[in-house]
Each structure stands twice: as structure tokens, then as C-alpha cells.
Amino acid sequence: MRKTTSLAPKSKRPLKASSKVPAKAAGARQSITISTKATLPKELQLSIYDLMIKSRVLEERLIKVYKTGDAYFWIGGAGEEAFGVPLGLLTHKGHGPEYDYLHLHYRATPTMIALGMPMIDSLRLMMNRVTDPSTGGRNFCNHYCFPQWNVVPVTSPIEVQYGMAIGTAVAQRRRWYTAGGKTPASGKKSISIVSGGDAGSAEGDFASSLIWASRPGFELPMLITVQNNKWGISTSYDTQHGEKNVADRGKAFGIRTAIVNGNDPIETYLALQTEIDYIRKTGKPVLAEFHLSRIYGHSSATGANREPDVCPIELFEKKLVDQKWIKPHETKELWKRYDEESREAAEQVRKEPVPTRESIWDNIYVGSENADWRKF
């Protein structure tokens, strides 16, 4: 008999909107379970666990930096580690269309950490330093841009990435066909991965991605993902969405779909691996929905305080400790080590220079060609 362990929250969060949640939709997440048979090698699990902690500690450091007045705004992906870390690990990372494109949203710190981003680069973005490799101090935290890994600029609009991913997928599909079915020199056929929230799936660009990815004879190698935490700021999913699952929308287009417990890193890793393999093999899209948590609310605009949602790291940590793959004191050491690293990084960033006023004219056009009409 298949044993299952529920990672679903036992109770709904005590927010006003949730009192009106329809029973049908409210039950959706509770049905999510993981199989104890699903497993990954010990070393990989420990590595995932390590990266999840690193990402969480970083997010919490970002929040501290905000709360101490060293930054203007926090928004992030605390609570999405069990999804984001496996995604980063499974990405065929590199620069250009021969590698996977990542069209992320502003909850992607776990993915960035898994890709190899140093903590300090996130803090540079958070504290808008000129040393910020993503934007040079121009954009909010978690709005990453790392061309060396095809992480295209993250933007604040919650939907546009679904459309842009079509374009990189068209470029990749062309290379698949140009190569005549041969595996490219990069080692794998590349795909475009796009992530967004459940609230963003209400936007038209989400529908665009489904339509364009499934055009007959022109299917695109796209992994379209939705991280469903059931909230858009203060508005609950259940009060706005009649569809039981966002992923169901893919069925109308003949798109393969998956619904995954995004709070379980093992289930998520295996599901992502399966779906990504399918895309690399067939060139066809997948729509995958991950049910997961929101640990510190939407952003600093809603307080950035710990909320009573299920914590995927606590669950995973308990599992690893119970299996005796890691000792309790070792887990504490890990949290402490990353906390220290993040603290030192923040100290360093405080000393780094900020953008100059005259730099507003830089990079409007390639080569900083004059963009100031006063100088035409």
C-alpha cells in the first residue's frame, strides 16, 4: 500500500479573506501528498537542503536590511525554496539560446542561489549599490538579471515574462531544427522556463503563453510554471479563480500538465526532472503548477512578518534528521554559518558606492549613445 505524508497546512491562515474560501477550492491543497517512495540520493538531498537554508537566510537578511532602514523595499520568495532550489539545479545553465532561458519573477532567490549566485550580489541589488550586477542599483530586490545564466531581467509586472518566454523559445526551437535533431554542443536541447504566481495567471499574457506554445506544428519547448501560494497580496485565489487548478487550463490546448506539491523538494525535483526531460525530448510545452507557501507575506508593504504558513525547510529538515542523514546540531551550524555569511555580506555592501546622479543617461541606448534630447 502506498504510504503518503501530507505536507499541506493543517489550518488556513487567519486572514480575513480566507473566511470566505469556497469549500471546493479550499480542499485543493489539502489533497496534496508526497510518496515516501519518491526519493533522491542522500548527497543531492543534503545539497538541496543546504541551498534551501542559504536562500532562506538570505531572504531573512534582506528583510532585516529593510527593517533597519538600509533598503527601501523587500519582496521575495521566502517559502518557495522547495520549488526554486530544484529548478535552479535542473536548469541547463549557460549563456545564449543553446542553454535554458529563465524568465523568473521576483520570488526567485532560491533558484538564483541554486544557480550559484553569491549572497552578496542579492544584497547589492537590495541596497541599490552601483556594484549590483543585475541592475546597477536601479531596480527592486529580487529583480535579478544574470546573462551568464540566461536569467533575463525580472520585472515588476507579474505577467510579461509569460509572453517574453515565447520569444526565447522560438529562438531555441529554430536551433533545434537547424541542428536536425542532433544534440547541440552544449550537451542538451535548451528550453525556456517561465515562472509566475497564481494571481498573475489571471493576466492575458499567461493565456498568450498557452496559445503560442501549442500552435499546431509550431509547439515550443517551454516549461510554463505557476507557483500557487493561493494569494495575490491580500486577495485569495479562491475568491477570484473558478478553475480548480491553474494547470487545468493547459488541457484545453493539449498541453501536458502537472500539479506538484511545491513544498516538498524531492517531489518537486522529480516532477521537474520528468517534465523537463519530456520537453527536451519532444520540444513540446508543459504547464506545471506548484502549490507552495508564502512565509513572509507579499512584501514589506504588508509587513514582511512571519506568517503561519507551512515551512518547507522545517518539514524537510525534520525528515532528514529523522532519517539520521544530518544531526540536529549540524543543522543549527548550517543556519548559523549562512547567517554569518549574510551578515558579513551586508556589512561589505554598506561600504560600497551608490549610483551617481549623472548615470541616469547611461545605457538607454547601446554604447550609451546620447539619449538626452538637449544634446541632439
Binding site: 539560446p97 533575463v152 509586472p157 510579461v160 496559445i211 546620447n370 534630447w373
Partner: protein
Amino acid sequence: MANMAQAIRMALHVGETRLGVTDIFGQDVGAPLGGVFTASQGLKNTWNSPLDERGIIATAIGLGLAGDRCVAEIQFADYIFNTIDLLKMAGNTLWCSNGQYNLPIVVMTPVGAGIRGSIYHSHSFDAWATRLPGWKVVIPSTPLDAYGLLISAIKDPNPVLFLNPKSLMRVRGTELIPGEPADEKELKNMIDQPVDDRKHQWRPKWPQLEEFEIPIGKGKIVREGDRATVVSYGRTLPLCAKVADMLREEGVAIEVIDLRSLYPYDWQMIKASVHKTGRVLFVNEDTEVTNFGEHLAFRATQDLFYELLARPRVLAGKNVPGIGLHPNLEEASVPHLEDILHEVRELLGEVP
């Protein structure tokens, strides 16, 4: 002489065969139609997209992020408005990424009145376009300029909006595109898809075209004169030239500048002309409130105040919600020959 639709088609051919254009796409852009104005017939890298303007612009951005060069079309500018945030984003991508991601993309869209297009086939977009920092914006008024500007737009590493005045799409030029056969019929036989052919058998025979470029940011003096300067572009430009010809018969020489590029724009050309004439009129057909001509008139006031013999004027479309279908409505809404002539006479008659 080629018309503007043929000129665009030839520039796209050069783009896809020599300049690395991988995708020319949009609604009805590919076979069998080749564009509602036939501007993309017979090309090899064209394809039809879903009727989804946001998808078209977003796909262009994605292609640009991947380093591919594309030309995307919004069938009429009237339908580009639901993409405005994506256009904004395309314009800010290089800046937001601090120079890391440039978008070498071109977006073409027919603009303006003049074909009895009613409310949703007559919009202008130049005022909106010039409020999209990071984009370059061009608008030709002749086939040769359309060809040269499109070649430049394709080569440019930045996003370029190519606004083609739809009422000029069938107007023939007076200057040969380098490589174009002199015989109009010969060109037609070579590159125009027969009207009854919609089944892919037809193949064009392209002339040996040169990569002729019109530099973005450079205007052109189309009529020389010393009494007044008229700055225009797009559909109203030939009307301004005609007004200059009419006045020349009366012994009055006015200078007409075809701006051709709206951003960056050729201020030095305007400045030199106004230094000479002391009077300037800006003509376009977009709605008059927060109009691009207002920006130019403002700048003329600021930079050339002591050179002016008369107040700078703007003649633009009336600030009404749409261009009505009946000719009376259209003519009352956007500048026509008589309006321009009247405004120029007023300008000339103003006593300081």
C-alpha cells in the same frame, strides 16, 4: 519607381538575406497574404502569428533577448495600444539591466489617417511613440526613405519603431532605390505577388539591392526657402511640400524639413533653418494635446527665442477621440492641404 509597400518588402528581403533577420512576423504577415499592405510578400522568414498583439511584442522582446533579429508587425497602430507596457519594457530593458541586455528588434506599424479608415484604422502613434525612452522612432514619407530607414532600423542594436504612414503605402517615389530596376512594370513583375496566387507557387525575383541606409536621427530638407520653416513627417509631409510649391509660384520660398526620425531627432537641422527664416511651423496629424510638435515648439521657444520673428506654431490633429468615417469628419479632424496653407500664411503674415 517603387511604392512604399514595395520598398519595405525589398528592405525586409535585404534584412533576411544579409542582415540576419530571423523572423518577420505578425498577424497575416506570412503567406498567403504577405501583409494587409503586401509589404511582406515573398519573403522566406515570414510567419503568421495568433491575433495577439501583446504576444507579438512580447515574442519580439524574447527574440531580442536571445540575440536574434526580428521585425514584428502590429497590423494597424490602432491595435498597438494594449501593448504599451510591453513597449515601455522593451525600451527600458537595456537600462534596467544596466547595459546587459539590448534588444535589436524592429516593430513596424501603419499609422495615420487618409484611407477612410474610420475610428480604428486611422490612429497616429507618434506622440505615444516619443514617450517611450529607449526606443528609436522613425517615420518615412517616401519609398526611398522607407527602404533606407528600415535597413538602418534592422542594423540598429536598439529597439526601433518603424511607423509607416498608411496613406503613403501606394504612393510611388521620385528617387530610385539603389538596385531597383528603373522600369516600374519590371519591378512589379519581379516582386509583386499575383493577386490570384494565394497558394505558395509564386516566388519573387529580387533585384540586386544595395544596403542603402538613411541614418536614424537625420532629417532632410525637401524644399529650400528663407521665409519660414515647416517641419513635418509622415502623411502630412508631402502636403507641406505641396504648399511650398504653391507659395513658390507666388514668389515666397519656405523651407520644408522631413524629420524622418522622431527620436533621436535632427534638432541641428531645424535650428539652422530657423536661424535663417525666423519662423517655424510644426505639422503632424496626431492629436494636438501633448503632441510631439509641442515638444519641438517648446524647444524652439527655449533655444531660439531671440531668433524668432513669430511665435512657433503647431498644426496637429484635433483633440477628438477618433477619426470619423465620413470625409467631413476626417477632414475636420486631421490637417489637410488647405489647413497647412492657411497656417503657413498666418505664420508669414505675423508681424513681430
